[in-house]
Protein backbone atom coordinates (compact mmCIF):
# COMPACT_ATOMS: atom_id res chain seq x y z
CA UNK A 1 0.00 0.00 0.00
CA UNK A 2 1.28 3.41 -0.91
CA UNK A 3 1.61 6.12 1.70
CA UNK A 4 1.51 9.80 0.83
CA UNK A 5 2.68 12.81 2.82
CA UNK A 6 -0.91 13.81 3.61
CA UNK A 7 -1.49 10.45 5.32
CA UNK A 8 1.72 10.74 7.36
CA UNK A 9 0.74 14.24 8.46
CA UNK A 10 -2.73 13.00 9.41
CA UNK A 11 -1.24 10.13 11.46
CA UNK A 12 1.12 12.54 13.24
CA UNK A 13 -1.88 14.66 14.24
CA UNK A 14 -3.65 11.58 15.60
CA UNK A 15 -0.51 10.94 17.67
CA UNK A 16 -0.46 14.58 18.82
CA UNK A 17 3.03 15.00 17.38
CA UNK A 18 3.99 18.04 15.38
CA UNK A 19 6.18 17.01 12.43
CA UNK A 20 5.29 19.74 9.94
CA UNK A 21 8.83 21.15 9.89
CA UNK A 22 10.30 17.70 9.32
CA UNK A 23 7.57 16.20 7.17
CA UNK A 24 9.90 15.15 4.32
CA UNK A 25 12.23 13.33 6.73
CA UNK A 26 9.45 11.54 8.56
CA UNK A 27 7.68 10.69 5.32
CA UNK A 28 10.79 8.98 3.91
CA UNK A 29 11.35 7.04 7.12
CA UNK A 30 7.70 6.06 7.37
CA UNK A 31 7.71 4.88 3.77
CA UNK A 32 10.83 2.76 4.36
CA UNK A 33 9.27 1.00 7.35
CA UNK A 34 5.98 0.45 5.53
CA UNK A 35 7.84 -1.16 2.60
CA UNK A 36 8.97 -3.80 5.06
CA UNK A 37 5.61 -4.03 6.86
CA UNK A 38 3.84 -4.64 3.54
CA UNK A 39 5.65 -7.98 3.26
CA UNK A 40 3.07 -9.62 5.49
CA UNK A 41 -0.03 -8.49 3.59
CA UNK A 42 -0.01 -11.42 1.19
CA UNK A 43 1.28 -14.13 3.51
CA UNK A 44 -1.03 -17.14 3.43
CA UNK A 45 -2.28 -18.05 6.88
CA UNK A 46 -4.59 -20.68 8.29
CA UNK A 47 -4.75 -19.42 11.85
CA UNK A 48 -7.25 -17.02 13.30
CA UNK A 49 -5.81 -14.88 16.10
CA UNK A 50 -2.83 -15.09 18.40
CA UNK A 51 -3.42 -16.45 21.87
CA UNK A 52 -1.40 -14.90 24.69
CA UNK A 53 1.71 -17.07 24.90
CA UNK A 54 1.41 -18.30 28.43
CA UNK A 55 -0.85 -20.63 30.28
CA UNK A 56 -3.86 -18.35 30.40
CA UNK A 57 -5.45 -19.82 27.30
CA UNK A 58 -8.74 -18.99 25.67
CA UNK A 59 -8.30 -15.29 25.54
CA UNK A 60 -7.14 -13.22 22.67
CA UNK A 61 -4.79 -10.32 22.95
CA UNK A 62 -5.27 -7.08 21.12
CA UNK A 63 -4.22 -3.54 21.73
CA UNK A 64 -7.78 -2.69 22.72
CA UNK A 65 -6.87 -4.52 25.92
CA UNK A 66 -4.13 -1.99 26.48
CA UNK A 67 -6.08 1.20 26.22
CA UNK A 68 -5.89 2.71 29.64
CA UNK A 69 -6.88 6.26 30.33
CA UNK A 70 -3.76 8.31 30.73
CA UNK A 71 -4.71 9.77 34.08
CA UNK A 72 -4.86 6.36 35.73
CA UNK A 73 -1.76 4.37 35.13
CA UNK A 74 1.17 5.77 37.00
CA UNK A 75 -0.73 7.82 39.51
CA UNK A 76 -2.16 4.89 41.38
CA UNK A 77 -0.77 1.47 40.68
CA UNK A 78 -3.69 -0.39 42.23
CA UNK A 79 -6.30 1.58 40.34
CA UNK A 80 -4.21 1.22 37.22
CA UNK A 81 -4.25 -2.53 37.61
CA UNK A 82 -8.01 -2.59 38.06
CA UNK A 83 -8.44 -0.64 34.87
CA UNK A 84 -6.11 -3.04 33.11
CA UNK A 85 -8.12 -5.99 34.38
CA UNK A 86 -11.46 -4.49 33.48
CA UNK A 87 -10.32 -4.00 29.91
CA UNK A 88 -9.23 -7.61 29.48
CA UNK A 89 -11.66 -9.92 27.75
Amino acid sequence: MNIDKKTVLHVSKLCRIDIENDLDKYYKEFEAIMDSVNEIIDVEVTEELMVVPNQQKNRYFSTSDLRISSEEFFCDSKRGFKVFKRCSK
Partner: protein, 470 residues
Protein backbone atom coordinates in the same frame (compact mmCIF):
# COMPACT_ATOMS: atom_id res chain seq x y z
CA UNK B 1 40.63 -5.70 49.56
CA UNK B 2 40.28 -4.47 45.96
CA UNK B 3 38.11 -5.61 43.04
CA UNK B 4 35.79 -7.63 45.22
CA UNK B 5 33.01 -7.15 42.69
CA UNK B 6 35.09 -9.05 40.13
CA UNK B 7 35.00 -12.17 42.28
CA UNK B 8 32.43 -14.90 41.70
CA UNK B 9 29.09 -14.48 43.48
CA UNK B 10 29.78 -17.48 45.71
CA UNK B 11 33.17 -16.02 46.71
CA UNK B 12 31.67 -12.61 47.57
CA UNK B 13 28.98 -14.41 49.57
CA UNK B 14 31.63 -16.34 51.53
CA UNK B 15 33.54 -13.14 52.32
CA UNK B 16 30.33 -11.52 53.58
CA UNK B 17 29.47 -14.57 55.68
CA UNK B 18 32.96 -14.63 57.19
CA UNK B 19 32.65 -10.88 57.85
CA UNK B 20 35.88 -10.22 55.93
CA UNK B 21 33.96 -7.61 53.96
CA UNK B 22 30.77 -5.61 54.54
CA UNK B 23 28.03 -4.65 52.06
CA UNK B 24 29.25 -1.04 52.28
CA UNK B 25 32.61 -2.15 50.78
CA UNK B 26 30.75 -3.38 47.72
CA UNK B 27 28.79 -0.13 47.36
CA UNK B 28 31.98 1.92 47.77
CA UNK B 29 33.73 -0.12 45.09
CA UNK B 30 30.76 0.32 42.76
CA UNK B 31 30.78 4.09 43.37
CA UNK B 32 34.47 4.35 42.58
CA UNK B 33 34.13 2.35 39.36
CA UNK B 34 30.93 4.05 38.20
CA UNK B 35 32.24 7.56 38.75
CA UNK B 36 35.50 6.87 36.92
CA UNK B 37 33.78 5.21 33.95
CA UNK B 38 33.50 7.04 30.62
CA UNK B 39 30.96 4.61 29.14
CA UNK B 40 27.79 6.61 29.98
CA UNK B 41 26.19 3.43 31.32
CA UNK B 42 24.13 5.15 34.03
CA UNK B 43 21.36 7.70 34.10
CA UNK B 44 20.97 7.81 37.88
CA UNK B 45 23.33 6.65 40.61
CA UNK B 46 21.62 5.71 43.87
CA UNK B 47 24.72 5.96 46.04
CA UNK B 48 23.39 7.72 49.12
CA UNK B 49 20.39 5.42 49.58
CA UNK B 50 22.53 2.39 48.73
CA UNK B 51 25.09 3.27 51.40
CA UNK B 52 22.33 3.77 53.96
CA UNK B 53 20.88 0.37 53.05
CA UNK B 54 24.33 -1.27 53.17
CA UNK B 55 24.92 0.02 56.68
CA UNK B 56 21.46 -1.22 57.78
CA UNK B 57 22.39 -4.68 56.49
CA UNK B 58 25.52 -4.90 58.65
CA UNK B 59 23.47 -6.04 61.62
CA UNK B 60 21.66 -8.75 59.70
CA UNK B 61 22.55 -12.35 59.05
CA UNK B 62 23.83 -13.23 55.56
CA UNK B 63 20.99 -15.61 54.78
CA UNK B 64 21.12 -15.95 51.00
CA UNK B 65 23.49 -15.80 48.03
CA UNK B 66 22.47 -12.28 47.02
CA UNK B 67 22.60 -10.68 50.47
CA UNK B 68 24.23 -7.24 50.19
CA UNK B 69 25.01 -7.65 46.49
CA UNK B 70 24.75 -4.48 44.36
CA UNK B 71 22.61 -4.52 41.23
CA UNK B 72 21.67 -1.96 38.58
CA UNK B 73 18.35 -1.76 36.77
CA UNK B 74 17.38 -0.60 33.32
CA UNK B 75 15.74 2.78 33.68
CA UNK B 76 12.30 1.59 32.58
CA UNK B 77 11.85 -0.54 35.74
CA UNK B 78 9.91 1.44 38.33
CA UNK B 79 11.74 2.17 41.59
CA UNK B 80 9.89 3.90 44.41
CA UNK B 81 11.38 7.33 45.21
CA UNK B 82 14.12 6.83 42.60
CA UNK B 83 13.97 8.48 39.18
CA UNK B 84 12.80 6.26 36.32
CA UNK B 85 13.25 8.13 33.06
CA UNK B 86 13.03 5.57 30.25
CA UNK B 87 15.96 7.61 28.90
CA UNK B 88 13.45 10.19 27.68
CA UNK B 89 12.96 13.90 28.16
CA UNK B 90 9.30 12.97 28.60
CA UNK B 91 10.06 11.28 31.95
CA UNK B 92 13.22 13.22 32.82
CA UNK B 93 11.98 14.01 36.34
CA UNK B 94 9.52 11.16 36.89
CA UNK B 95 9.76 9.52 40.33
CA UNK B 96 7.53 6.43 40.72
CA UNK B 97 5.42 6.00 43.82
CA UNK B 98 5.71 2.21 43.76
CA UNK B 99 8.29 -0.50 43.14
CA UNK B 100 8.17 -2.96 40.27
CA UNK B 101 7.50 -6.54 41.34
CA UNK B 102 11.09 -7.54 40.53
CA UNK B 103 12.38 -4.76 42.78
CA UNK B 104 10.31 -6.07 45.68
CA UNK B 105 11.71 -9.54 45.06
CA UNK B 106 15.31 -8.27 45.09
CA UNK B 107 14.72 -6.27 48.24
CA UNK B 108 13.37 -9.39 49.94
CA UNK B 109 16.81 -10.89 49.28
CA UNK B 110 18.48 -7.74 50.64
CA UNK B 111 20.11 -6.87 47.34
CA UNK B 112 21.16 -3.23 46.99
CA UNK B 113 20.00 -1.16 44.01
CA UNK B 114 22.93 1.10 43.22
CA UNK B 115 21.84 2.70 39.97
CA UNK B 116 19.57 2.98 36.98
CA UNK B 117 21.13 2.28 33.61
CA UNK B 118 21.10 4.07 30.29
CA UNK B 119 19.02 2.63 27.49
CA UNK B 120 17.46 3.45 24.16
CA UNK B 121 14.54 5.84 24.70
CA UNK B 122 11.49 3.88 25.85
CA UNK B 123 13.45 0.73 24.88
CA UNK B 124 13.15 1.65 21.20
CA UNK B 125 16.46 1.03 19.45
CA UNK B 126 19.15 -1.57 19.11
CA UNK B 127 22.31 0.46 19.56
CA UNK B 128 22.02 2.41 22.81
CA UNK B 129 22.16 5.63 20.79
CA UNK B 130 18.57 6.92 21.03
CA UNK B 131 18.82 7.85 24.73
CA UNK B 132 17.99 11.46 25.62
CA UNK B 133 21.01 11.23 27.95
CA UNK B 134 23.47 10.35 25.19
CA UNK B 135 24.84 7.15 23.70
CA UNK B 136 26.28 4.33 25.81
CA UNK B 137 29.71 3.06 24.74
CA UNK B 138 30.90 -0.52 24.40
CA UNK B 139 33.63 -1.34 26.97
CA UNK B 140 35.34 -3.66 24.47
CA UNK B 141 35.99 -0.65 22.23
CA UNK B 142 34.41 2.72 22.96
CA UNK B 143 33.97 3.44 19.26
CA UNK B 144 31.54 0.50 18.93
CA UNK B 145 27.86 0.36 19.83
CA UNK B 146 27.04 -1.76 22.90
CA UNK B 147 23.71 -2.87 21.43
CA UNK B 148 20.34 -2.05 22.89
CA UNK B 149 17.98 -1.26 24.18
CA UNK B 150 19.37 -2.47 27.56
CA UNK B 151 22.70 -0.86 26.66
CA UNK B 152 23.73 0.44 30.08
CA UNK B 153 22.85 -2.79 31.87
CA UNK B 154 25.00 -4.90 29.52
CA UNK B 155 27.84 -2.36 29.58
CA UNK B 156 27.89 -2.06 33.38
CA UNK B 157 28.28 -5.84 33.72
CA UNK B 158 30.75 -6.23 30.83
CA UNK B 159 32.94 -3.42 32.19
CA UNK B 160 33.07 -5.05 35.62
CA UNK B 161 31.41 -2.06 37.30
CA UNK B 162 28.74 -4.28 38.83
CA UNK B 163 28.20 -8.06 38.57
CA UNK B 164 24.41 -8.02 38.09
CA UNK B 165 21.89 -6.05 36.06
CA UNK B 166 18.34 -6.31 34.87
CA UNK B 167 17.20 -5.36 31.40
CA UNK B 168 13.98 -5.69 29.47
CA UNK B 169 13.52 -7.53 26.20
CA UNK B 170 10.77 -6.75 23.65
CA UNK B 171 12.54 -7.87 20.47
CA UNK B 172 16.01 -8.77 21.72
CA UNK B 173 16.87 -5.89 24.03
CA UNK B 174 18.54 -8.09 26.65
CA UNK B 175 20.10 -10.69 24.36
CA UNK B 176 21.46 -8.39 21.64
CA UNK B 177 23.46 -6.03 23.92
CA UNK B 178 24.59 -9.07 25.90
CA UNK B 179 25.98 -10.51 22.65
CA UNK B 180 27.65 -7.24 21.59
CA UNK B 181 29.29 -6.81 25.01
CA UNK B 182 30.25 -10.45 25.67
CA UNK B 183 27.98 -11.16 28.65
CA UNK B 184 25.02 -13.46 29.34
CA UNK B 185 21.39 -12.33 28.99
CA UNK B 186 18.11 -14.21 29.34
CA UNK B 187 14.67 -13.42 27.96
CA UNK B 188 12.48 -15.66 30.11
CA UNK B 189 9.30 -17.42 29.00
CA UNK B 190 6.58 -14.78 28.59
CA UNK B 191 4.73 -14.57 31.89
CA UNK B 192 7.46 -16.03 34.06
CA UNK B 193 8.72 -12.69 35.37
CA UNK B 194 6.16 -10.10 36.42
CA UNK B 195 5.87 -7.04 34.21
CA UNK B 196 4.25 -5.07 37.02
CA UNK B 197 6.17 -1.80 37.23
CA UNK B 198 7.96 -2.26 33.90
CA UNK B 199 7.01 0.78 31.83
CA UNK B 200 5.34 -0.88 28.88
CA UNK B 201 6.56 -0.85 25.30
CA UNK B 202 4.97 -3.91 23.68
CA UNK B 203 2.89 -5.56 26.38
CA UNK B 204 2.51 -8.94 24.68
CA UNK B 205 6.28 -9.11 24.06
CA UNK B 206 8.00 -7.41 27.03
CA UNK B 207 9.89 -9.49 29.58
CA UNK B 208 12.40 -8.45 32.23
CA UNK B 209 15.59 -10.51 32.11
CA UNK B 210 18.90 -10.88 34.00
CA UNK B 211 22.28 -9.83 32.56
CA UNK B 212 25.35 -11.38 34.19
CA UNK B 213 28.99 -12.36 33.65
CA UNK B 214 28.36 -16.09 33.38
CA UNK B 215 25.53 -18.57 32.89
CA UNK B 216 25.40 -19.96 36.43
CA UNK B 217 25.09 -16.52 38.00
CA UNK B 218 22.40 -15.70 35.45
CA UNK B 219 20.40 -18.71 36.62
CA UNK B 220 20.78 -17.62 40.24
CA UNK B 221 19.52 -14.11 39.50
CA UNK B 222 16.65 -15.53 37.45
CA UNK B 223 15.67 -17.60 40.49
CA UNK B 224 15.31 -14.35 42.45
CA UNK B 225 13.10 -12.48 39.97
CA UNK B 226 10.81 -15.19 38.59
CA UNK B 227 7.47 -16.23 40.03
CA UNK B 228 3.74 -15.60 39.82
CA UNK B 229 2.46 -12.09 40.48
CA UNK B 230 -1.20 -11.23 41.02
CA UNK B 231 -0.45 -7.71 39.82
CA UNK B 232 0.34 -8.84 36.27
CA UNK B 233 -2.60 -10.45 34.52
CA UNK B 234 -0.31 -12.21 32.04
CA UNK B 235 1.79 -13.70 34.86
CA UNK B 236 2.06 -17.48 34.57
CA UNK B 237 1.07 -19.46 37.64
CA UNK B 238 3.66 -22.22 37.27
CA UNK B 239 6.24 -23.83 39.50
CA UNK B 240 8.95 -21.33 40.43
CA UNK B 241 12.34 -21.80 38.73
CA UNK B 242 15.13 -22.78 41.12
CA UNK B 243 18.79 -22.68 40.14
CA UNK B 244 19.66 -26.18 41.27
CA UNK B 245 20.54 -29.45 39.50
CA UNK B 246 21.66 -27.52 36.42
CA UNK B 247 23.26 -30.55 34.83
CA UNK B 248 22.30 -32.30 31.63
CA UNK B 249 21.36 -35.91 32.22
CA UNK B 250 21.20 -36.76 28.51
CA UNK B 251 22.60 -35.66 25.17
CA UNK B 252 20.29 -33.15 23.47
CA UNK B 253 18.66 -32.98 20.08
CA UNK B 254 19.59 -29.57 18.73
CA UNK B 255 17.82 -27.77 15.87
CA UNK B 256 19.54 -25.03 13.89
CA UNK B 257 17.18 -23.08 11.57
CA UNK B 258 18.72 -22.79 8.10
CA UNK B 259 17.49 -19.18 8.01
CA UNK B 260 19.79 -18.40 10.95
CA UNK B 261 22.95 -19.37 9.08
CA UNK B 262 21.81 -18.01 5.71
CA UNK B 263 22.56 -14.99 3.59
CA UNK B 264 21.43 -12.46 6.21
CA UNK B 265 24.11 -13.50 8.65
CA UNK B 266 27.45 -11.73 8.60
CA UNK B 267 30.68 -13.72 8.04
CA UNK B 268 32.17 -12.44 11.32
CA UNK B 269 29.34 -14.10 13.17
CA UNK B 270 29.42 -17.34 11.19
CA UNK B 271 33.19 -17.62 11.61
CA UNK B 272 32.59 -18.21 15.33
CA UNK B 273 29.13 -19.78 15.31
CA UNK B 274 29.76 -22.63 12.84
CA UNK B 275 32.92 -23.97 14.57
CA UNK B 276 30.98 -23.83 17.85
CA UNK B 277 28.31 -26.07 16.32
CA UNK B 278 31.06 -28.58 15.46
CA UNK B 279 32.21 -28.54 19.08
CA UNK B 280 28.63 -29.14 20.21
CA UNK B 281 28.47 -32.18 17.91
CA UNK B 282 31.74 -33.43 19.40
CA UNK B 283 30.21 -33.05 22.86
CA UNK B 284 27.79 -35.77 21.73
CA UNK B 285 24.71 -33.70 20.96
CA UNK B 286 22.76 -34.33 17.77
CA UNK B 287 22.69 -31.20 15.58
CA UNK B 288 20.23 -30.97 12.66
CA UNK B 289 19.42 -28.11 10.32
CA UNK B 290 15.68 -27.41 10.10
CA UNK B 291 13.36 -25.23 8.00
CA UNK B 292 11.20 -22.66 9.81
CA UNK B 293 9.73 -20.67 6.90
CA UNK B 294 7.89 -18.02 8.93
CA UNK B 295 11.15 -16.79 10.50
CA UNK B 296 11.60 -14.57 7.48
CA UNK B 297 8.61 -12.46 8.56
CA UNK B 298 10.07 -11.63 11.97
CA UNK B 299 10.89 -8.01 11.24
CA UNK B 300 7.59 -6.95 9.61
CA UNK B 301 5.78 -8.83 12.38
CA UNK B 302 7.66 -6.85 14.98
CA UNK B 303 7.09 -3.62 13.10
CA UNK B 304 3.35 -4.14 13.20
CA UNK B 305 2.76 -5.74 16.60
CA UNK B 306 5.38 -4.01 18.73
CA UNK B 307 4.75 -0.61 17.22
CA UNK B 308 0.97 -0.95 17.46
CA UNK B 309 1.25 -1.83 21.13
CA UNK B 310 3.77 0.98 21.65
CA UNK B 311 1.46 3.56 20.08
CA UNK B 312 -1.26 2.47 22.49
CA UNK B 313 0.99 2.26 25.55
CA UNK B 314 2.64 5.61 24.95
CA UNK B 315 -0.69 7.39 24.42
CA UNK B 316 -0.77 8.00 28.17
CA UNK B 317 2.17 10.39 28.06
CA UNK B 318 0.48 13.72 27.62
CA UNK B 319 2.29 16.02 30.05
CA UNK B 320 -0.74 16.38 32.35
CA UNK B 321 -0.21 14.07 35.31
CA UNK B 322 3.39 13.27 34.49
CA UNK B 323 5.73 13.83 31.60
CA UNK B 324 7.19 16.94 30.06
CA UNK B 325 4.89 19.95 30.39
CA UNK B 326 5.28 22.95 28.08
CA UNK B 327 5.20 26.42 29.65
CA UNK B 328 3.30 28.14 26.86
CA UNK B 329 0.28 26.75 25.03
CA UNK B 330 -2.92 27.95 23.42
CA UNK B 331 -5.36 25.24 24.49
CA UNK B 332 -5.51 21.64 25.73
CA UNK B 333 -4.75 20.13 22.33
CA UNK B 334 -1.78 22.43 21.88
CA UNK B 335 -0.53 21.53 25.38
CA UNK B 336 -0.56 17.79 24.63
CA UNK B 337 0.96 18.24 21.17
CA UNK B 338 3.78 20.39 22.54
CA UNK B 339 4.39 17.94 25.38
CA UNK B 340 4.69 14.97 23.05
CA UNK B 341 6.54 16.77 20.24
CA UNK B 342 9.26 18.04 22.57
CA UNK B 343 9.18 15.16 25.10
CA UNK B 344 9.72 12.28 22.69
CA UNK B 345 12.77 11.69 20.50
CA UNK B 346 12.65 10.98 16.77
CA UNK B 347 12.81 7.17 17.01
CA UNK B 348 9.88 7.05 19.43
CA UNK B 349 7.80 9.44 17.31
CA UNK B 350 8.48 7.41 14.18
CA UNK B 351 7.47 4.16 15.85
CA UNK B 352 4.31 5.60 17.40
CA UNK B 353 3.18 6.96 14.05
CA UNK B 354 3.66 3.61 12.31
CA UNK B 355 1.82 1.89 15.17
CA UNK B 356 -1.07 4.32 14.97
CA UNK B 357 -1.27 3.89 11.20
CA UNK B 358 -1.48 0.08 11.33
CA UNK B 359 -4.17 0.29 14.03
CA UNK B 360 -6.35 2.79 12.20
CA UNK B 361 -9.81 1.45 11.38
CA UNK B 362 -9.14 1.13 7.65
CA UNK B 363 -5.82 -0.70 8.19
CA UNK B 364 -6.34 -2.80 11.28
CA UNK B 365 -7.43 -5.93 9.40
CA UNK B 366 -4.83 -5.50 6.67
CA UNK B 367 -1.89 -5.13 9.05
CA UNK B 368 -2.62 -5.76 12.70
CA UNK B 369 -5.02 -8.68 12.47
CA UNK B 370 -2.91 -10.24 9.73
CA UNK B 371 0.20 -9.86 11.87
CA UNK B 372 -1.50 -11.66 14.76
CA UNK B 373 -2.31 -14.52 12.40
CA UNK B 374 1.25 -14.67 11.07
CA UNK B 375 2.52 -14.56 14.65
CA UNK B 376 0.42 -17.62 15.47
CA UNK B 377 1.78 -19.43 12.39
CA UNK B 378 5.35 -18.69 13.47
CA UNK B 379 4.57 -19.85 16.99
CA UNK B 380 3.07 -23.08 15.63
CA UNK B 381 6.20 -23.72 13.57
CA UNK B 382 8.45 -23.23 16.60
CA UNK B 383 6.22 -25.48 18.70
CA UNK B 384 6.50 -28.18 16.02
CA UNK B 385 10.29 -28.00 16.21
CA UNK B 386 10.17 -28.39 20.01
CA UNK B 387 8.14 -31.58 19.61
CA UNK B 388 11.20 -33.18 18.03
CA UNK B 389 14.11 -31.18 19.46
CA UNK B 390 15.23 -30.05 22.91
CA UNK B 391 16.68 -26.70 21.97
CA UNK B 392 17.05 -24.34 19.02
CA UNK B 393 20.44 -22.72 18.47
CA UNK B 394 21.28 -19.70 16.35
CA UNK B 395 23.64 -16.77 16.42
CA UNK B 396 22.22 -14.12 18.79
CA UNK B 397 22.71 -11.35 16.25
CA UNK B 398 23.22 -11.19 12.47
CA UNK B 399 26.30 -8.98 12.88
CA UNK B 400 28.91 -8.23 15.52
CA UNK B 401 29.04 -4.79 17.18
CA UNK B 402 29.47 -1.99 14.64
CA UNK B 403 30.74 1.61 14.94
CA UNK B 404 28.81 4.18 16.96
CA UNK B 405 27.13 6.80 14.80
CA UNK B 406 27.05 4.61 11.71
CA UNK B 407 24.50 6.12 9.35
CA UNK B 408 21.68 3.63 8.90
CA UNK B 409 18.27 3.79 7.28
CA UNK B 410 15.34 3.66 9.77
CA UNK B 411 14.33 0.23 8.54
CA UNK B 412 17.84 -1.19 9.06
CA UNK B 413 17.63 -0.45 12.78
CA UNK B 414 15.25 -3.39 13.16
CA UNK B 415 17.66 -5.79 11.43
CA UNK B 416 19.81 -6.16 14.59
CA UNK B 417 16.94 -8.09 16.22
CA UNK B 418 16.30 -10.40 13.26
CA UNK B 419 17.19 -13.57 15.18
CA UNK B 420 15.85 -12.63 18.60
CA UNK B 421 12.37 -11.33 17.66
CA UNK B 422 10.86 -14.77 16.89
CA UNK B 423 11.07 -15.84 20.53
CA UNK B 424 9.36 -12.66 21.74
CA UNK B 425 6.61 -13.36 19.22
CA UNK B 426 6.16 -16.94 20.41
CA UNK B 427 6.93 -16.30 24.09
CA UNK B 428 9.60 -19.04 24.29
CA UNK B 429 12.59 -18.52 26.62
CA UNK B 430 15.88 -17.63 25.03
CA UNK B 431 19.40 -16.99 26.30
CA UNK B 432 22.34 -15.19 24.70
CA UNK B 433 25.78 -16.36 25.77
CA UNK B 434 29.27 -15.46 24.50
CA UNK B 435 30.91 -18.19 22.41
CA UNK B 436 34.07 -16.45 21.28
CA UNK B 437 35.35 -13.41 19.46
CA UNK B 438 35.99 -12.24 15.94
CA UNK B 439 39.00 -9.99 16.42
CA UNK B 440 38.07 -8.08 19.55
CA UNK B 441 34.32 -8.29 18.95
CA UNK B 442 32.36 -10.76 21.08
CA UNK B 443 29.97 -13.12 19.29
CA UNK B 444 26.88 -14.49 21.01
CA UNK B 445 24.91 -17.69 20.59
CA UNK B 446 21.18 -17.87 21.25
CA UNK B 447 19.86 -20.95 23.06
CA UNK B 448 16.08 -21.37 23.08
CA UNK B 449 13.77 -24.05 24.39
CA UNK B 450 10.12 -24.87 24.93
CA UNK B 451 7.97 -22.85 27.37
CA UNK B 452 9.18 -22.86 30.99
CA UNK B 453 12.24 -24.98 30.15
CA UNK B 454 14.80 -22.42 31.30
CA UNK B 455 16.45 -25.19 33.31
CA UNK B 456 17.27 -27.05 30.09
CA UNK B 457 18.71 -23.88 28.54
CA UNK B 458 20.89 -23.17 31.55
CA UNK B 459 22.08 -26.77 31.86
CA UNK B 460 23.16 -26.87 28.22
CA UNK B 461 24.72 -23.39 28.36
CA UNK B 462 26.74 -24.21 31.48
CA UNK B 463 28.13 -27.33 29.80
CA UNK B 464 28.96 -25.38 26.64
CA UNK B 465 30.51 -22.49 28.58
CA UNK B 466 32.80 -24.96 30.32
CA UNK B 467 33.73 -26.65 27.03
CA UNK B 468 34.50 -23.33 25.30
CA UNK B 469 36.30 -21.82 28.28
CA UNK B 470 34.71 -18.40 27.67
Amino acid sequence: MKNILNLKLTEINELLKEKKIKPIDLVNEFEEKALSSSLNAFITLNIEAAKKRAIELEGKEVDNLFFGIPIVLKDNISTKNLKTTCASKMLEDYIPIFDANVVEKMEQKNMIIVGKTNMDEFAMGGTGETSYFGATKNPIDETLVPGGSSSGSAVAVAAGIVPFALGSDTGGSVRQPAAFCGVVGLKPTYGRVSRFGLIAFGSSLDQIGPITRDVTENAHLFEVINGFSKDDYTSADVEKFEAKDLKLNKKLKVAVPKFCVGENINDEVLSVFLPTLEKIKKMGHQVDYVEIPFLKYSIPLYQVIALAEASSNLARFDGLKYGYSPNQYDNFDDFVTKSRSVGFGAEVKRRMMVGTYVLSSENVDIYYKKALQVRQELTNELNSVYKNYDIILSPATPTAAFPLGEKRKPNEAFFDDLLTIPFNMSGHPSLSMPIGKCGIKPIGMQVSSNYFEEKKIYSFAIELEKELGV
